[in-house]
Subunit: 247 residues, 2 copies
């Protein structure tokens, strides 16, 4: 008996590309991704690289036209259908660079469909580098096996978010003044749903009133300790995914 | 009507100290903590600083004998009783510096009682700087309001951990080959409990068999995506706390 090699090979590098993929499509690769494949992964002609475009699932491609600084990947066969992640949005206030990057990375791994930055009054940061956040989403998606990136929405002000809140999308929000324990509030709401997490300083009283006034809002408690904003975002997402998602 | 100032003041700095605290105890402070109080927080004589020693709860202390590089804090009044965190251990393989630090920080915030590093065959790191991890636990405890640090155990090999596993402590472990979904496996086990998380490369087959052979072991699944080790550790802890802890 000969062992059948795994298909696709488990060690194959995995890359997000902008090109819409299909059988026979040739994808030219240069810049950082080419450097990664050529100098870090040391691919050879004919080697398999997994590609995903965020729309058509995942594809096995073969290395072709390998040069010093660029190469071509030729799409051979679909290896995964387009993915369905749970209909869950993570809405969070902008926080310091390293910590918002962490939220993006973990949101992608945990299966969030949409990451929505929300500007609140006590936010200590009022601008976000969406390109950098996008790069973190891409890297996390490449690593965790997702075939689609989470949608990264432009930052909106809290009052605009609430004014346009889509009817029927449950809006869980971490309320430091008290709320229903997660274990009671979450079960039985498989989506559409969202979690709203404030900045380190929390929501101000007027903001809390405005959130509570949304018909789909549910104030919840994340326990007796004071969580950093990114801890709250990651923990709330993990709890929702455990009870309502695809885990 | 005059507004009563909050007691203890919400903005009071919070510090972990080694001295066993009691009413009237004077705590000399120098080095980094003194620098933080004097130069960063700019405390003045009589200002309140919150102290905890990991054993006797939290205390309000007043600044006294303030000099350039050191000061004395005098314990005035207990502000919180010693804390009871859920009886939950997080057992995890050592991983790269920044990412194991993140596990320590989040484990403390999320309410873990004991952090137990476990050496497994596929671990890419085989040494841990326990002093650095301790410093991360202290900082997180100061920030999140805990009055006791999580216990930080010395690293043990997986076979030793399993051989000495205490009877009756439920051992949930993240099994990449499949297991019960968390939402089914976790409820109704308020502790003693533990979660065991492998390194990036997972457990090897012999290790998995050895874990499954522990009578209290429960293989669980953390969903369809490939989670980084620290994501798995944080998400598993959040899920357990949601369903069995004090949230």
């Amino acid at each position: 008996m000969t062992a059948t090699p795994a298909w696709p090979p488990q060690s194959a590098p995995r890359l997000h590309v902008e090109t819409l993929l299909d059988e026979g499509v040739a994808v030219p690769v240069d810049g950082n991704p080419a450097h990664y494949l050529i100098s870090v992964m040391r691919v050879k002609p004919g080697d398999v690289v997994l590609l995903f475009d965020g729309r058509s699932g995942e594809w096995a491609a073969r290395v072709r036209d390998l040069r010093k600084r660029d190469l071509v990947l030729e799409c051979v066969e679909r290896t995964k259908p387009p993915e369905l992640v749970p209909d869950f949005w993570l809405c969070c206030a902008p926080i310091k660079k390293g910590r918002i990057d962490l939220i993006a990375e973990k949101a992608c791994e945990l299966g969030v469909a949409r990451l929505q930055p929300v500007l609140t009054r006590r936010a200590v940061v009022d601008r976000l580098n969406l390109d950098r956040l996008h790069a973190h989403l891409v890297e996390a998606a490449e690593q965790c096996g997702r075939t689609a990136l989470p949608e990264l929405a432009a930052m909106v002000k809290l009052d605009a978010l609430l004014r346009d809140w889509p009817a029927g999308r449950r809006l869980f929000f971490a309320d430091e003044t008290g709320g229903t324990p997660l274990a009671e509030a979450l079960p039985g709401h498989p989506g559409p749903a969202a979690f709203l997490i404030g900045p380190e300083g929390g929501f101000d009283p007027a903001e809390r009133d405005a959130i509570r006034a949304v018909p789909d809002a549910v104030p919840v408690s994340l326990g007796p300790r004071i969580l950093r904003a990114e801890t709250a975002a990651i923990a709330a997402t993990a709890a929702w995914m455990t009870l309502n998602g695809d885990w």
